[in-house]
Symmetry: C2
Subunit: 135 residues, 2 copies
């Protein structure tokens, strides 16, 4: 996936959160390029803070272990819930906990459509607009 497409999808998700009227999203500057751990998005609202690492792909995606470790460390220290937001082609955003990712060789992580369908929750479930059924 190109960097431009990743940025476009991140902005798409920012707009989704902004339009809920309950949550306030921001994109983190230099995510992935600063020495300090940082997620792609931070979203606050309804007494919660969500730290979201965004991933997109055709139907599967590897995620480096360092990125997941950073997400976990950042969230613990900031006081945020760590989430992986995944956007596969022709599907809506789905959100997973770190524990739902599959661990691949070398300690890296892997996510595909099947895992997301089984363990992921929708934007509406994440934001509490609909009842959460899979948590």
């Amino acid at each position: 996936m190109s960097k431009a497409k990743g940025s476009r999808l991140e902005r798409e998700l920012v707009t989704l959160f902004f339009e809920t009227n309950n949550f306030m999203p921001i994109r983190v500057a230099g995510s992935g390029s600063t020495p300090l751990p940082a997620p792609d998005l931070l979203v606050g609202g309804k007494g919660r803070v969500l730290a979201i690492e965004c991933k997109a792909g055709k139907d599967s995606r590897y995620i480096k272990k360092d990125q997941i470790q950073e997400l976990t460390e950042f969230s613990a220290r900031f006081g945020a819930e760590p989430w992986i937001g995944v956007r596969f082609d022709r599907l809506d955003w789905q959100f997973l906990k770190v524990g739902h990712l599959r661990i691949s060789k070398g300690g890296n992580y892997f996510i595909n459509k099947e895992i997301a369908a089984k363990s992921g929750i929708s934007f509406q479930e994440l934001t509490g607009i609909y009842k959460q059924e899979k948590l």
Copy 2:
């Protein structure tokens, strides 16, 4: 103040927060250039979230009313405490509530060394490293 100097001072403040070990700071992407309200920095930790608009100057500084309105709106919706961080030449960072700024003509805001000395709190007071005396 140049944009480069502003960015350098923001990064300086990010490092200060990071080094507390209690707080986790991020710089917001596109602050001041996106259609959505956003502060310069977001800092989480110890059950708090601080939204900080950073200003630097020789010994005084005007702040546009739109920026203060954005900071207030953002903070209310995100669930963050709104703060103005001000860094005057040869002085450490000082932090003020919106209500401590002076309102200038046209509904804009004004801050100088005198106001900051009277109503501002230090980084140590903001982060609770030392006792807060002025709040």
